[in-house]
Symmetry: C2
Subunit: 487 residues, 2 copies
């Protein structure tokens, strides 16, 4: 439904950066990359022209609608954080944090994500219970040239539930939200992979890996969605120094994926069932699947033991949604084309900020809005669909000279009635130019007043698409415009 609204037949074709010269519009929503040398923005950041902004606003509106449907409140936190707030939370990625110049003793940085500021906010305000969403820009000192499609400034779009609750109920809701959003946006078939850090750590333990190597083993396993097992095994044995036997043993587990039956099987696994962490994780995974069954969404959920997720702070359930490519129908299994949402449980992060280490368990999801936006943008470009960048309903026009006063009076009346109206900023514009402006920018109606109309107390209302003109008594104009614009 939200996508249908984007598909206006008489939409403005332009990126919004080139209203003039008329007719010289760029072909889609991609920003013009013209511009003088020497006049530029920082690499890895970009201007968002009107067509981009309009499409993004609609996409975000669809996401926010879902977050609100689930009872979340919005918060905002500063882009500037004290540097100490961010330090020690991101592991190796901390080198990508943007730092500011010393401003008289204050060490500042630009926020790196929305999760750490949320945890800081909870701890600082002693909040133990909250369901919030936050959509805002974050900053990474990434090298934009070497990491394609990754920006230094980009939007994150997070939903989190903080609080001590009965197991897996909030976790299940996070997965439900991902399912709803990806379904609503009609991005094609998708799969939500689910795993649990406790299960992974349990596997490492029963395979004889020392606890000090859990994190690094986790990172290596995480590559399984991009490279085959042989390569991952090579890295484990080579770089990470695991024994070939341990690596093979891990391989037997992490290549498994399935549903409830796999959980049941692993719960019976003679080794895993002896490991406390793994047992807890599997028990909760079973409960999670029960709840997901009640939500009716297990069809798109896969318990996937290769899912590990990069970030340090996860402590329980982790998940990641991928879109499945269906174009090559001869391929046996659908191919994943990239992650569009991810998240998990992080029960220790708030405690890192609390002076007494008081924990607030949290689970949350981040919607990969930039990636989804790229997909929608490419799709619209391919289909030749256009985005209207303004919502103007009526152009107030005049057919001949010396009628600026008449236009100013009429447009005032329309604005007062809440009608979205524009006029050209010329004293005596040509009628053709005014109508052309309607065509170019997708304005559906023109309200035309000439001497004759003024004398008769009417306004000529023109349907721009059909070119049909009807005289409407001035006092009925607003009602008639509203009637015409009814959905």
């Amino acid at each position: 439904t939200w996508l249908r609204r984007l598909r206006s037949p008489r939409a403005w074709a332009c990126c919004g950066s080139c209203r003039s010269p008329p007719g010289g519009c760029c072909p889609g929503v991609l920003p013009c990359n013209g511009g003088e040398r020497g006049l530029q923005v920082l690499g890895g950041t970009r201007d968002h022209p009107p067509a981009y902004t309009a499409l993004r606003e609609r996409l975000l509106a669809a996401v926010v609608t879902c977050f609100k449907r689930h009872g979340a409140a919005a918060i905002d936190t500063p882009v500037l954080e004290l540097r100490e707030t961010l330090m020690g939370k991101y592991g190796e990625e901390a080198k990508l944090i943007y730092e500011l110049q010393d401003q008289g003793g204050e060490l500042l940085a630009l926020r790196y994500d929305l999760t750490v500021p949320f945890a800081r906010y909870l701890a600082m305000n002693k909040i133990t219970n909250m369901k919030r969403y936050h959509i805002a820009k974050v900053y990474r000192r990434d090298n934009p040239a070497t990491t394609r499609g990754r920006y230094r400034e980009f939007y994150q779009c997070d939903f989190d539930i903080a609080g001590q609750f009965d197991p897996m109920i909030p976790d299940a809701e996070c997965l439900k939200i991902v399912h709803e959003i990806l379904s609503d946006l009609q991005l094609g078939d998708f799969l939500i992979k689910v795993n649990d850090r406790r299960i992974l750590n349990g596997i490492f333990a029963v395979c004889g890996i020392p606890e000090s190597k859990f994190v690094t083993a986790c990172c290596t396993v995480d590559k399984l969605d991009k490279v085959p097992w042989e390569e991952v095994r090579g890295e484990m044995v080579g770089e990470k120094g695991l024994s070939p036997e341990a690596a093979d043993h891990i391989g037997e587990y992490v290549q498994l994926h399935g549903g409830l039956e796999l959980i049941e099987r692993l719960l019976q696994d003679p080794k895993l069932s002896q490991n406390k962490l793994a047992k807890e994780g599997l028990g909760d995974m079973k409960l999670l699947f029960e709840y997901l069954t009640l939500f009716g969404i297990t069809g798109k959920i896969s318990f996937d033991l290769s899912l590990a997720r990069g970030l340090d702070y996860y402590t329980g359930v982790i998940f990641e949604a991928v879109l499945l490519q269906q174009e090559n129908e001869h391929v046996e299994e659908p191919v994943s084309v990239g992650s569009v949402a991810g998240g998990g449980r992080y029960d220790g992060l708030v405690g890192m900020f609390d002076p007494k280490g008081r924990k607030v368990p949290c689970v949350g999801v981040s919607i990969g809005i930039e990636r989804i936006f790229s997909i929608l943008e490419q799709r619209m470009k391919a289909s030749g669909e256009k985005v209207r960048t303004t919502e103007t309903q009526v152009l107030v026009a005049t057919p001949h000279k010396h009628l600026l006063a008449a236009r100013l009076k009429l447009i005032s009346e329309l604005w007062a009635a809440g009608i979205k109206a524009e006029m050209l900023y010329k004293k005596d514009p040509k009628l053709l130019k005014q109508l052309q402006y309607c065509e170019d920018t997708g304005i559906p109606l023109a309200a035309i007043v000439g001497e004759q109309e003024l004398t008769d107390g009417v306004v000529k209302l023109r349907d721009v698409a059909t070119r049909v003109e009807v005289d409407i008594p001035r006092e009925k104009l607003v009602d008639e415009i509203r009637r015409r614009l009814e959905p």
Copy 2:
């Protein structure tokens, strides 16, 4: 109308930072300032808790509605700009620009306002014609301790019209927009002061001030809204080194304010009418008042020769809206309580970015959203009004144990129908706790399923305010909820 929507009788009383302990809510929309020492945000920045964010979103929605009514498109630009983009545009204020640490040769800064990035955007993309709005955070390295109510990170809210048009038509629309927004927001009586930099410069010229001192004279005149003429005169003669005669002569002009008749009078002024700049400015001012008369808004417009505005880049019409205090009714003239919008024409800024100096005339207005927000916040606090921070319509509840599955199934059905629904994340919550949650957070309806309701195929729908409960057949529940929630 937008304000009425804020005044929900059963609204959630809490700042959103303290859902628990129940009943222990803070009294208003002001953020809790609790928090451990040592755990803090940068002075001059702040977290925006849910009640703040909800109120701000509604305020911004009202402003955006107006911008869209006037046909503006939205753009966004990066928070990070190359430092050279910002340098040389703000005069002395440049010392307040936040600079980033050198990141391998890139000199970066945080944007200081939205106007300079807009001019950079126009020049970079060779856009000669655009009507855009932009609402985003800007950054100032101000000392927050010494400047009360001024933040280092705050929202700006700008509408600008770029392009070569017939004189005063876009300028009049900017004033119309200020008038509409301040009227819509019901902030009380206001006045929009208008002047023109060309008139001011003409006055300085005919008073014998050398052109090199125009800018500094302008700054001194700008203080007239805060201090009496005698003090301003003192600064002119003392610090600025103007002759007492010149200062007195300037004083005769800049203390004038009025409407069309004042413009006519100055057009006949034997000295001013001989000055080319002043004559142009006065001619355009007359035209502006003609258009404002057609818009029907001259009642709140004052041609005020003391208005000068701080920024360097204005070249023509300038304006500023102030709220008028009406509480002390014994005061003869209403007292201004501060600027809530301002703007003007800046025809030279885009040319500063264009390698060939090609100019794109611009006029724009900035709505002082932070100040307006403070006023609304204070007003709500004083009246004891509350802001709901979530939009949840129904709480799905159970009256006794072992019914988690029933809640999960029912809430899925509601979500699928687009109903905003929550449930407590407990396996077996007490009914009283569930109903208390409705009261605390302003949820108007509770949908209750027990064994009996499951057997009968109904759901008990409870109106939280009246406590009336009615059994509704399950298949009719969604329709009944929608019917109840109709405005």
